[in-house]
Amino acid sequence: MKLIISAQGSSLESQVDRRFGRCMWLILFDTETDQWEAFQNPGTSQSGGAGVAAAQFVVDNKADVVCSGDFGPNASRAFQAANVEMRHFAENITTVQEAIDQFKQDMLLK
């Protein structure tokens, strides 16, 4: 399963980013191979439509699940149409690795 997580940095030890549309990095993680890759979010410096730009990226990378602090109305609509599941970080999650571990235990909030 492919998972994308919004992050403030480009490694698994980086802090997660609770914003989706304008986060700095999108970390793609494959739970079957444990392979991962960090991408710069195309929405970061957009003056408008950041949520759409970031969501388009997630959809183009064929993610099954996307995790962030919250999703705006445009990103939500795109993900609903694409059948990409949206999950939210719990209060205590700080790093990307923690989010991945929580996901594997199905503990991320829906």
């Binding site: 408008g48 759409v52 388009q56 959809v59 609509r77």
Partner: protein, 287 residues
């Protein structure tokens, strides 16, 4: 003659000056007043026009004809504003992000996009005095983009001899103000002698310099604050054309919908004289 009344900081007195300027000039020429603050118009509170016409202001947005669309994604690629997304062989349109530029329609290889009108507000016209036409735009609540309405409002401008068009600009120094200023002969800047007023005025001066529009300043609420405004104006060589002293009686009357010239009729002559100064500055520029 096309004069915009702008400020930078909100609440400095643009409408106070714009409405009384319009009333004072109505005896000299045909005056047309355009309330370009389409998010919160207030000129009507002072000029009390009788509205006779209302037309929808629309922006043209794309509609995907699914029977022709192959989901190639070209429209998504060309959209500068991310108003389109490609999701599972469907193209989604986000109307509130669309700027109506037409690039998607133009670039679609299958001609699968049709432009449809998306109403975002209204343009209204009325008469304020026997010879003063009053125009305003009204952006529908929750719509994010005032600029297309201002553009449509200004299409009614029809520059004519012996006509003075006065544009009451929105507050701030962003797209909606730039659209209001586009093509005007002069920007009358209404400001107050406070640090906030000065900060935002400087942004306006930067914009006017880029747009090469001459300007002059009205210092409203003169007597409060400090000297930094006047020092800055000397430095930028922007003329101070009028000072309106801080005055509680005036403030109370404005709050009741009475104009500056209602309360102090002597401003009629003062504003006509200000207009003469504007014509001299504008005339000097074209020499």
């Amino acid at each position: 003659m096309q004069i915009a009344v702008a400020s930078g900081k909100g609440g400095t007195g643009k409408t106070t000056i714009a409405t009384s300027l319009a009333l004072s000039l109505a005896s000299l020429a045909k005056v047309r007043y355009f309330d370009c603050d389409v998010e919160a118009p207030n000129g009507h509170l002072f000029l009390k026009p009788e509205f006779t016409e209302s037309t929808p202001a629309v922006i043209r947005i794309p509609q995907i004809q699914t029977e022709k669309c192959t989901a190639c994604g070209r429209c998504v690629e060309v959209c500068e504003f991310h108003a389109l997304a490609k999701v599972r062989k469907n193209i989604l349109v986000f109307p509130q992000l669309c700027h109506g530029c037409g690039s998607c329609t133009w670039n679609c290889p299958e001609n699968a996009i049709v432009e449809v009108p998306n109403p975002i507000g209204t343009i209204e016209r009325g008469m304020a005095l026997e010879n003063m036409e009053f125009f305003r735009g009204l952006l529908t609540i929750s719509e994010p983009m005032p600029t297309p309405i201002i553009r449509q409002l200004k299409k009614r401008m029809q520059p004519q001899p012996n006509t003075i068009n006065i544009y009451d600009a929105p507050p701030g120094a962003s797209c909606s103000v730039v659209e209001t200023l586009r093509g005007v002969d002069f920007a009358l800047l209404v400001t107050e002698p406070t640090p906030f007023g000065l900060h935002d005025l400087k942004q306006m001066l930067g914009i006017l310099s880029d747009m090469q529009i001459p300007s002059g300043v009205v210092i409203n609420r003169d007597g409060i604050g400090d000297d930094s405004l006047e020092e800055t104006l000397r430095e930028y060589r922007i003329p101070v054309l009028l000072r309106v002293p801080f005055d509680r009686k005036l403030a109370e009357n404005l709050a009741a919908g009475r104009t500056l010239v209602d309360v102090y009729p002597q401003y009629g002559d003062i504003l006509r004289e200000l207009y003469q100064q504007i014509t001299e500055i504008v005339g000097g520029k074209t020499k």
